[in-house]
Each structure stands twice: as structure tokens, then as C-alpha cells.
């Protein structure tokens, strides 16, 4: 078992054992990041593999100013953004809007005002799978903005630059994403309550 300094040293000289150690140490956290950005499991896998290959090629550029994990997360997020930018040519935001409308018609959205009950947004109320299920209901452009802003702490200016959109677009996507998520989470909470009542 290597410590972090040895792993870094080994990875810089392209040592296969050190590379595998780094992979084993961070794969589960990086996968958690990838599944939030990807459309499905397969895309998450592709992002994860591409991200790790970038990490191993660019590890020489890592200066120990911040944490290694922070640097790895940055690379993974950038890889996910590259995937999104590559695929968005085939994916129009107007389609996103259509999808939201369609989902509303299908009855997945709750009609009426959204609950502001803090219990509804308690971490203990949902499992990771449920949170991810709600996140995956969002259109791709909305999901990526929500992730970048709320989980990775990017600013709207940074998001706009990375996704090649305007800042106001980023803000409006975040607003819609949050609104839609609140509604989806309420559906999930109601479903869970019904099941536990049975």
C-alpha cells in the first residue's frame, strides 16, 4: 500500500502499480460525480475512463497547492463538460423545454404550489439513488448547470464560460432545474410515504 506522495511520484513516472492505487483510491468518488453529469450508466463509464486517462497524462502538471481530490474532481467535471459540449449539437434546449412540458402532461409533475417544507429537503428523507433518479429527470443542460452550481460550487460566470452559454441562460436553467427537482422530490417523498403506510 502506497501513501499519497508515493502514489503521485509513481504516477508521474507512469508506474502501473501507482496508477492502479490512485484509481482504486478515488474511483468510487469519481463515479459518484460522473453519474450526476451523465445521461446514463454507459455515458458515466465513458466519462470516468476518459477522465482517468486525462488525469494520468496530466498528473505532472499537478502542483500540490490544493488537495489532490479537488484537482481530480476538476478534471472529471471538465471531461463531463467536454462530453456535454460534444453531444449538445444533437440536443437542442428547445427540446429540453418540450421534455418538461411532456413530463408535466404525463403526470410526473405535481400541480399547484411547491412545498417549502424543510423536512421534504432533509438528507435523511432520500437515498442517493432517489436523489439521482430525480436529477436524471432533468434535461441535460439543466442538470449540468445545477450540478456545477450547487455541488461543485462554480459561479454563473464560470458555468457560462464552460458551457458556452450566457450567464442569464445559466441562471434561468438553474431556476427551472431547482423547481423541477422540488417537484420530483415531492413525488418521490409521497411515493415513499405511501409505500411505508402499506
Amino acid at each position: 500500500m502506497f501513501n499519497e506522495t508515493e502514489i503521485l511520484k509513481g504516477c508521474r513516472s507512469f508506474d502501473p502499480q501507482a496508477q492502479q492505487q490512485l484509481y482504486k483510491k478515488y474511483v468510487s468518488r469519481m463515479r459518484a460525480l460522473c453519474v450526476r453529469y451523465a445521461r446514463d450508466r454507459e455515458e458515466a463509464k465513458d466519462i470516468l475512463q476518459d477522465g482517468f486517462l486525462k488525469i494520468f497524462s496530466q498528473i505532472g502538471q499537478y502542483e500540490a497547492t490544493g488537495t489532490l481530490e479537488g484537482w481530480l474532481r476538476r478534471i472529471m467535471v471538465n471531461t463531463a463538460i467536454t462530453f456535454y459540449n460534444r453531444n449538445k449539437k444533437h440536443y437542442h434546449e428547445s427540446l429540453d423545454e418540450l421534455l418538461i412540458e411532456h413530463t408535466k402532461e404525463e403526470g410526473c409533475y405535481i400541480k399547484g404550489p411547491v412545498s417549502e417544507d424543510p423536512e421534504l429537503f432533509s438528507e435523511a428523507t432520500y437515498t442517493h439513488e432517489e436523489l439521482l433518479e430525480a436529477l436524471n429527470q432533468l434535461p441535460e443542460g439543466h442538470r449540468i448547470v445545477f450540478n456545477m452550481y450547487h455541488v461543485e460550487d462554480f459561479s454563473h460566470a464560470e458555468i457560462a464560460e464552460a458551457l458556452q452559454i450566457e450567464e442569464k441562460t445559466s441562471r434561468s436553467r438553474l431556476f427551472r432545474a431547482k423547481k423541477a427537482l422540488q417537484e420530483y422530490l415531492q413525488v418521490i417523498a409521497n411515493r415513499t410515504t405511501k409505500i411505508s403506510n402499506i
Binding site: F14, P16, Q19, Q20, Y23, K24, V27, S28, R29, R31, A32, L33, V35, R36, K45, L48, Q49, F52, L53, F56, S57, E116, P118, L120, F121, S122, E123, Y126, H128, L131, L135, F146, N147, Y149, H150, V151, D153, S155, H156, R171, L174, K178, L181, Q182, L185
Partner: protein, 101 residues
Amino acid sequence: MENDKNHIGDLYQKAFSDAGWDDPEDEQDWNAIAFELDKKRFYRFSWTRFNVYYCGFIILLVLLMVFLLARYLMLEENTFKKNNPTHPDSGNVSLIERTEG
């Protein structure tokens, strides 16, 4: 940084900022990455590992040896012809002379 974070943002940040996600296919995924890394390693210069530069050097050595061997054989043949001008293999005796005897 804009200050419009709310419950839902906190919920996701708490749940996912430090979360892990295990997958039984980790080993398979590593194999795919290791295969790509092996390819990259092959094109990377190193004194201690076999790589494209060693491979090129070996091919160059083989070609050089083939060239030197061919040149040596040609020189041998020329020397033989020079030293034995009447020998049938020297090329100085015609076919008629050789058959006549």
C-alpha cells in the same frame, strides 16, 4: 458567488460532495483504462521499459545487420571472381567454353 442557494441545493451538496459510488464492474473498467495506459506507456520515452524507441532501435539494428551482411557477401563474391578469373562461377568463362570442356 451568487447567494441564491436553498434547501434543495444544500441537500444535493451534502449528499453528493463527498459521496462514493461503488460498482462491481470497477475491475473491468480498470482493465480498459490499463489497456489504454499500456499503449500510452509504449509511446513514452523511458530507459527502463520497453517502448517504441527501443523497438525502433532494434529494427534499425536488424536492418543495419542485413545491410552489412549483404555488403559482405557482395565483397566476398567480387574477391572470389578477382582471384579465380577462369573458374566457371567467376562469370569470365562463356557457356560454350564450359560445355566444351
